[in-house]
């Protein structure tokens, strides 16, 4: 079984010279290798020797198959005898359990029976089959090569270059329409502007999720957190798509605890602040608010945002702080947005800052 190591001089690494004929890269002198001792003597099993054991194992196999029958029948009976009483979760549990156990026994009985049969009763000798080298014989390869050559000659494939080249061109281009027609998986509009706008606008009231009831500033006491949607969201045609951008978290902090950066002084109302609830990492709702530490935790990848510092990132894989929704109060005391968010909400995308 000697093989080239495939090392043509000058193109690959060669192995160290050795007196041993080239056998790849083995180096141990072949003649000093221990030899394969051949098969060990056959050890008969107890069923081979003792007819009583044979009968016993045979009975066991049959019992297992019988158990399978019992199981399958039990499953059918259970299906009928443990019906589902609509609304009664316990009945669902019983139906699932007993139907399942019956089927389990039906299957395991066959499985264990078949395996036990093969292990203890079927002929236990190891048999041998020869391997042949996977590659075809030289004659077969030659015939295959000859067939291709004939095909080539009779068609003139390589000789008629014009035919060949235009055929290849045609075959390459013909699937392209099939690729192109998948364009309309997406609507015609440009996705980027959509990502930059939400339902929030000047005067839109902050309302409770999911009821849509507006929120008064006086409702928001210290330590509270409100889950907020814009007024009108529930009537929107694309309710979930809009909610995926417009969901907001509303909390109240002591004005003294709040660090407001220049330009954002009127974005909060007496310590009530509103931030986008959509994580700037990959978009999960950032909803775990700790009222004493003022930390906001996202449960997906553990990004943390500091609500006293404009929701900037203090831990975790996010980078950008949560966008802040500028809010104020209308003349009835309800919280309203001053405008839409001043930056796109949610996860980053390539065109975000353009």
């Amino acid at each position: 079984m000697s093989q080239q190591d495939g090392a043509d001089p000058g193109t690959a690494v060669e192995r160290v010279e050795s007196e041993v004929p080239s056998t790849g890269i083995a180096v141990v002198d072949e003649s000093d290798r221990l030899e394969n001792p051949g098969f060990p003597p056959f050890r008969p099993r107890i069923s081979d020797v003792d007819p009583e054991k044979d009968r016993q194992n045979s009975r066991r196999v049959s019992w297992l198959f019988l158990a399978s029958i019992v199981g399958s029948v039990f499953a059918i009976v259970a299906y009928i005898v443990f019906p589902i009483e609509l609304g009664n979760l316990g009945s669902v549990r019983l139906n699932t359990l007993f139907l399942g156990l019956g089927i389990t026994l039906g299957l395991l009985g066959i499985g264990f029976g078949a395996v036990h049969w093969s292990k203890t009763l079927m002929d236990g000798h190891d048999l041998v089959e020869s391997r042949h080298p996977t590659r075809g014989s030289d004659a077969t390869r030659a015939r295959a090569a000859e067939i291709f050559t004939l095909g080539n000659e009779e068609s003139g494939f390589t000789r008629r270059k014009m035919i060949r080249n235009t055929l290849i061109g045609a075959l390459v281009v013909s699937p392209l329409p099939a690729v192109v027609i998948f364009r309309d998986l997406a609507p015609a509009a440009d996705p980027v502007p959509l990502l930059k706008h939400t339902l929030w606008a000047e005067g839109v009231r902050l309302t409770r999720d999911p009821s849509g009831v507006p929120i008064r500033a006086s409702d928001v006491t210290l330590g509270s957190v409100f889950h907020v949607i814009p007024e009108g969201l529930n009537e929107s045609e694309d309710r979930l798509e809009e909610k995926a951008k417009a969901a907001v978290l509303l909390v109240r902090l002591r004005p003294g605890d709040l660090n407001v950066s220049p330009g954002r002084e009127d974005w909060n109302f007496r310590g009530i602040v509103a931030y986008s609830k959509i994580c700037t990492h990959v978009g999960c709702p950032v909803a775990l608010y700790e009222q004493q530490t003022h930390h906001l935790l996202c449960p997906c990848h553990q990004s943390q945002f500091d609500m006293t510092n404009q929701a900037k990132v203090i831990f975790g894989p996010a980078k950008r702080p949560l966008p802040q929704l500028p809010i104020t109060v209308d003349d009835e005391g309800y919280l309203i947005a001053r405008s839409d968010f001043l930056e796109p909400v949610g996860p980053s995308f390539w065109e975000r800052s353009l």
Binding site: P37, L185, K319
Partner: protein, 544 residues
């Protein structure tokens, strides 16, 4: 090497006169055979030999779980509605009655609560899916650690790798079908990930979801992939995989009588058919037992997907865990705006690292073949200890994967072991980066240590526990020599040396050659040679 192999048994073909029941079978067999040449198949394959080792059955576990998935999935397709159209749930689960949700979610609830056997089938399907990917993983590890990917099986490795990726895709699309809160948040994460891809991200997200997330199309499209494209390609690949297995024949572990030129084991009919067939029922039975007694994916607790709520402990199914973990491990702030374009390295680095990891897995056979220069066919499976560097690389790879996987459950680790999530994250960051190196080193030394122990036993036998007092007063523990059959297993591995560089025709040594030689040196420098005949004779001379 030429060895006289004494066949343990002669194949006998005693003809049995047909009894009454056999006549119908004979007629049927003849009818079919006249029209299909089936006897040719039977002749070729009926007594094909399969080696018998438990680790060779892991691929079967994968195959059988796949069949269970197909069967249970077919049942589900009769009841599931892959539509995101909004309906009001009027089924029987009390805590969701009257709620608006997609038809997909509502039909999944109906399957679970209003159809007998529905919940069982859902649970069988999902448990079988988890087992499918797990068994593929374990199977691939077995192939890796025994070197069964070497020539002539490299193509089959690639086919298997493709199935591995496809299985994960099938699982992901599958658990996203009910449109529940857990899988919906998973989709949200994937959408965020896609949006973060430079240049094409926003458009790709738009294309997949048919517009803005979540849209009305995702479930329907995933359904097409999940019940049509995915299974069809998987079935085709399984076919190729099995055909190649038959053509190449299965590998076998070294043993007395087993050579590179034979296969020793049991014939398909009757033993292998009984064992493999029985095993199918056993795998199916275990899956059903688990599905009958343990809850999986209780979508009724999660409720329908909505972008606002989320559950503590939101993780994907285990086989996507390494991706979720990778996202969690990135430190803060890895995002930059360059000339107005946002480059989200906190997303791209995980994507690239995971992509590279998968590529390394896929191309490993070719890299190892290049390093070793070994172009022979290999049909004897390596014991992992006899390929220390490969085993150590595998250990490092597993450790890296495990670090990423563990990271996905960082919040649960924190609550259960009373740690901080910050501490757990830091700990896993360190473990994932440094762990693979430690694992490599430890695994390699253990392999070499085990090889040394094998040498010791081959040369000097094993300690029998009998202490003998020699006439001179010396106490000695008697060593039992191994039988030549047992010893063969310890000495029958190939010995390699690193490749040597030679200058080419023009007297130069290319960079590629230097790299190849360096890698070869790394691969084979530390090695233990198998015990040779001379050493055995010398050892025997020393002892009695």
């Amino acid at each position: 090497m030429t060895v006289e192999i004494h066949h343990p048994v002669k194949e006998t073909t005693d003809t049995v006169p047909p009894g009454p029941g056999m006549r119908l079978t004979n007629w049927a067999a003849n009818y079919v055979e006249d029209r299909t040449s089936l006897s040719g198949f039977v002749k070729e394959l009926g007594r094909k030999i399969f080696p018998d080792h438990w680790s060779f059955m892991l691929g079967e576990v994968a195959l059988y779980s796949f069949i269970v998935i197909l069967l249970s999935g077919t049942f589900l397709t009769f009841f599931f509605q892959a539509s995101m159209a909004e309906v009001t749930y009027e089924g029987s689960y009390p805590a969701l009655k009257g709620l608006d949700m997609s038809a997909a979610m509502a039909s999944t609830l109906d399957i679970s609560f209003d159809i007998r056997g529905g919940l069982l089938m859902r649970q069988i399907h999902h448990w079988a899916a988890l087992l499918f990917v797990a068994s593929i993983g374990l199977h691939m590890l077995r192939i890796f650690f025994t070197g069964a990917f070497r020539k002539p099986r490299e193509i089959n490795w690639i086919v298997g790798f493709l199935m591995f990726v496809l299985a994960m895709l099938e699982g992901f699309t599958g658990y996203s079908l009910p449109d529940d809160l857990l899988s919906g948040n998973g989709l949200r994460i994937i959408d965020g990930l896609i949006k973060g891809i430079p240049i094409v991200g926003t458009w790709t997200s738009y294309l997949i979801f048919g517009g803005e997330f979540p849209g009305n199309d995702a479930v329907g499209r995933f359904y097409s992939v999940h019940i049509l494209l995915g299974p069809a390609i998987l079935v085709a690949l399984i076919g190729v995989h099995l055909i190649l297995l038959i053509v190449n024949k299965h590998t076998q572990f070294a043993g007395p009588g087993r050579t590179e030129n034979n296969v020793v084991g049991v014939p398909i009919l009757p033993v292998f058919a009984a064992k493999a067939g029985g095993f199918f029922f056993l795998v199916f039975g275990v899956i059903t037992l688990v599905a009958a007694t343990v809850t999986i994916n209780p979508i009724w607790n999660y409720g329908p997907y909505d972008p606002s709520p989320i559950s503590a402990g939101t993780q994907p199914d285990w086989y996507i865990g390494f991706a979720d973990g990778a996202l969690r491990l990135i430190p803060s702030g890895w995002e930059f705006v360059i000339w107005g374009y946002t480059l989200s390295l906190n997303i791209l680095v995980p994507v690239i690292v995971l992509g590279l990891f998968l590529v390394v897995v896929a191309i490993y056979p070719f890299v190892e073949a290049w390093i070793t220069g070994d172009k022979r066919e290999h049909h004897i499976a390596d014991r992992p200890r006899n390929a220390p560097t490969r085993t150590a690389i595998g250990a490092a790879g597993v450790t890296f994967y495990a670090g990423l996987w563990a990271a996905a459950s960082s919040d649960l680790i924190a609550t259960h072991f009373k740690l901080t999530i910050e501490g757990v994250t830091l700990g896993i960051q360190i473990a994932t980066v440094l762990g693979p190196f430690a694992a490599y080193f430890i695994a390699k030394r253990i392999c070499i240590g085990l090889q040394k122990k094998d040498r010791e036993i081959a040369l000097h036998g094993y300690e029998s526990g009998r202490i003998v007092r020699l006439p001179g007063g010396e106490y000695v523990e008697v060593h039992e020599q191994l039988s030549e059959y047992d010893r063969w297993k310890l000495v029958s591995f190939d010995d390699y040396t690193p490749l040597m560089i030679r200058p080419d025709k023009r007297g130069r040594i290319t960079v590629t050659q230097r790299v190849r030689a360096a890698l070869s040196r790394w691969f084979y420098e530390d090695r233990i040679a198998p015990v040779s005949k001379g050493e055995i004779e010398a050892a025997h001379g020393e002892h009695h």
